[in-house]
């Protein structure tokens, strides 16, 4: 084998590796966004069709102190893994910002929308409705996460009710093992005692994974879907 052919083969390998890297970057920055937008739209369509076909079982009635333990209402059907059950809109992140919320936080689930930490509360329930989303890639749903400010609305629609949550404080930076941030009474949020909370998590820094960024909100208002969109979404 001549020196010439060795050099040529080596050069060709370098060119190939370079092309592969460029293709991967294109895939990562561009193609995942295309896939996620498509998947999220499909999930939202699925939800709308389901809701149009049969209204979701009415939201559980507000707990009345009079009801005894034995008269507990039947638990609503559990969310199915990887399936959408609600949509979320955050006007601060853009007027067209709407993503489906799917059950569980598996990798494949988060490629289609936002993921609900299974085991945490349902929207509107007492406890913590915790949701994770990509900061970058797969449509960049939480790209502008640091722009969230106290008082910002997070509107969740589960097919029967609009739940309007209000951000309580600026996004909080923590480490990935800090699971207490999605506890029923999240640590570090400033909330005291049981309540109807919402937690959003994403990665920090933007392109890294050394930390997590967390935002907390509390339930501010509910509105039956039949009464139309809440005022926060207008304009």
């Amino acid at each position: 084998m001549s020196v010439r052919s060795v050099v040529r083969t080596f050069s060709e390998l370098c060119v190939t590796v370079g092309a592969l890297i460029i293709l991967f970057v294109v895939y990562f920055l561009f193609w995942t966004g295309v896939k996620a937008a498509d998947a999220a739209e499909g999930e939202i369509d699925t939800l709308r069709r389901e809701w149009a076909r049969e209204p979701v079982a009415a939201a559980p009635p507000p707990p009345s102190p009079a009801s005894s333990a034995s008269a507990e209402p039947p638990a609503p059907a559990p969310y199915r893994d990887g399936k959408p059950f609600a949509t979320m809109r955050i006007p601060r992140l853009g007027s067209g910002w709407e993503w489906p919320v799917l059950e569980n936080t598996e990798v494949s689930t988060l490629q289609k929308g936002l993921g609900h930490y299974s085991g945490t509360a349902r929207p509107g329930d007492t406890g913590n409705f915790a949701v994770a989303g990509h900061r970058r890639t797969y449509g960049d749903p939480f790209k502008d996460f640091p722009k969230l400010r106290p008082g910002d609305a997070v509107v969740v629609n589960d097919g029967t009710t609009w739940f309007t949550y209000r951000i309580a404080k600026r996004p909080h930076r923590t480490v990935p093992t800090d699971t207490a941030v999605v506890a029923p009474v999240p640590r570090g949020s400033g909330f005291e005692g049981a309540g109807r909370y919402l937690t959003l998590t994403t990665c920090e820094p933007e392109w890294g994974s050394s930390h997590r960024l967390v935002a907390w909100a509390h339930l501010d208002a509910t509105r039956p879907v039949s009464e139309g969109e809440p005022p926060e979404l207008a304009g």
Partner: protein, 62 residues
């Protein structure tokens, strides 16, 4: 490597160019469809959850 492939393609230069283009597209398709989706979770950008928050709290720890 590429010279070897080129020499082994049938037909004249035009036919070879077209076959080469098809081959390149097939490779890119395979990469986008199978290879990159497999390789992508090995990178840290998907870690958006806090660890072990629930039984299903995956997508972390890479």
């Amino acid at each position: 490597m590429y010279g070897w492939i080129w020499r082994h393609l049938p037909g004249n230069a035009w036919v070879r160019s077209i076959i080469a283009l098809v081959l390149v597209l097939a490779v890119v398709y395979a990469l986008f469809q199978y290879v990159f989706p497999w390789a992508e979770p090995l990178l840290p950008f998907g870690d958006v959850t806090v660890d072990g928050a629930s039984a299903g709290g995956a997508g972390v720890g890479q």
